[in-house]
């Protein structure tokens, strides 16, 4: 199953990922991305990959996608 990874050091809290897929991403009070789930079923792959690519800080990766 594709695995979602976030680079906390790169995240800038723009929350574009949250807007694109709020069932996988949230941000905490300091604006750091929080992954709500790291295993991405095939059915969500395209949507989550798109959300990851919407990150302006290139902080997100969907591996094995």
């Amino acid at each position: 199953m594709p695995i979602l990874k976030a680079d906390a050091a790169a995240c800038q809290g723009y929350a574009s990922c949250v807007i694109a897929a709020d069932d996988y991403f949230d941000i905490d009070d300091d604006g750091l991305v929080v992954l709500l789930s790291t295993e991405v079923p095939e059915a969500d792959r395209e949507r989550v990959d798109r959300a990851a690519r919407a990150c302006p800080a290139a902080a997100l990766r969907l591996e094995g996608a």
Binding site: G13, Y14, A15, D49, A54, P56, A58
Partner: protein, 415 residues
């Protein structure tokens, strides 16, 4: 040539388009043409902090895996929409089924050139600038737009002495309004950036040991490095005679179809089906910084020089190419960001800098909200990601200002 998509400009918009075509199941031929010899890279990081390994938007191996043909180091030099042919700098001519022009803009040429004088648009520009900044010394930044302000912040972090010059007395106010703009200026002041606002650079002279920068009030600044950040301009001379409408970029309909080329493609759309590798034929689209999309109601639009918009326009074009019966228009809440002195500025939706917003503050963080009859239409967040997220959702849903205030600062009495 059926289903053959050619994209000129392999950057934010072009790469997003190519990727979306593939992830949507398009199997036809896709070529990406770019004059850069570099593998496609992202631009926002070029002004934000130390220049590290560039963020690649697409690598050669990935392009190969996705079946995307990357033609790098090749410039598009002419377009014949009737023959559906693109002329390239290597002397070849290539045909296309659908053409997407995503050639961006270039840095406005500096009126002064010489050693130590920089503009910033490409990776090569960034490498030259950062090599200079690493030497320390005095930097003068001409133009305090977002990029100039980011460079000032980056340079002061690296130990340079920095002076920021701009003809406006509050450059950020032009985008975010006076009260929020003043707040951003205090970040520069606290970080130790010397501000010369309301001043115009009159002359730049090369000295034996640096550069002298003369301002309109007679002050002369000595610099080791100068960054001229005075905006960007479209670069569409190669499209002259193509029939496309070229007033401030490429004029398009609300779906990114370039005006002036539709007489060729119209009537043929609808043949395409996903997977068959057939798309709306002969059509020319434009996306990203170079494109001027009409509003949904057809009213002439403005060019948007923002990363999010470039991506979204690209995704709309991909969807329109694959299903021409249902052409797409952007629907996301516009978002621009800028990182300065360790804080993020986010501008969301429609911000009217001439109208004073409602301010919500929480210590150092600030959220400014613009509304229309009580419903949030635009917002600026200074260092407050959750505030920005709440505002972005509110703008999308047409929620009330009071609802946002309750979400982000329940204890705070709104002002």
């Amino acid at each position: 040539m059926t289903g053959d998509v050619v994209i000129v400009g392999a950057s934010v918009a072009g790469v997003a388009l190519a990727r979306t075509l593939r992830s949507s199941g398009f199997t036809g031929r896709v070529r990406l043409v770019d004059r850069e010899t570099e593998e496609p890279y992202d631009k926002p990081p070029l002004s934000k902090g130390r220049l590290e390994e560039p963020v690649r938007l697409l690598t050669r191996p990935e392009a190969e895996r996705l079946g995307l043909e990357l033609l790098l180091g090749v410039e598009a030099t002419g377009l014949d929409t009737a023959a559906r042919r693109l002329a390239l700098s290597d002397g070849s001519r290539i045909g296309y089924g659908a053409l997407v022009i995503a050639t961006g803009v270039r840095a406005r040429r500096s009126p002064w050139i010489g050693p130590g004088v920089h503009v910033l648009r490409t990776l090569a520009d960034a490498r030259a600038l950062h090599a200079d900044l690493a030497q320390g010394g005095d930097l003068v930044v001409v133009g305090a737009g977002f990029i100039g302000a980011e460079v000032a912040s980056t340079a002061i972090d690296q130990g340079c002495r920095v002076t920021l010059v701009d003809p406006l007395t509050s450059p950020p106010a032009r985008v975010v309004g006076q009260s929020v703009g003043d707040r951003i200026l205090t970040w520069h002041e606290r970080a130790g950036v010397n501000l010369r606002l309301g001043r115009v650079v009159e002359a730049l002279d090369q000295l034996a040991d640096g550069i002298s920068v003369r301002l309109d009030d007679g002050e002369v600044l000595r610099a080791d490095h100068v960054v001229v950040g005075i905006g960007a301009e479209v670069d569409v001379d190669w499209l002259a005679g193509s029939g496309l409408h070229l007033e401030d970029g490429i004029a398009c309909d609300p779906h990114g179809r370039a005006l002036g080329a539709d007489d060729v493609g119209e009537g043929r759309v609808g043949e395409g089906r996903v997977g068959e590798g057939r798309v709306g034929e002969g059509q020319v689209f434009a996306a990203g910084d170079v494109a001027r999309w009409a509003a949904a109601d057809g009213a002439p639009g403005r060019r948007i020089e923002h990363w999010n918009s470039a991506q979204e326009q690209a995704r709309c074009i991909a969807a329109t190419l694959l299903d021409p019966e249902r052409p797409q228009s952007p629907s996301a809440v516009p978002m621009v960001w800028s990182d300065q002195h360790g804080r993020t500025v986010q501008v969301l939706g429609a911000v009217d800098p001439g109208v004073e917003p409602r301010l919500v503050e929480d210590g150092d963080r600030l959220l400014a909200l613009w509304d229309d009859g009580g419903r949030v239409t635009g917002a600026v967040s200074l260092g407050w990601p959750r505030g920005a997220l709440a505002a972005r959702r509110a703008i999308a849903n047409g929620a009330a200002v009071t609802a946002v205030v309750d979400t982000v600062a329940p204890r705070e009495a709104a002002r």
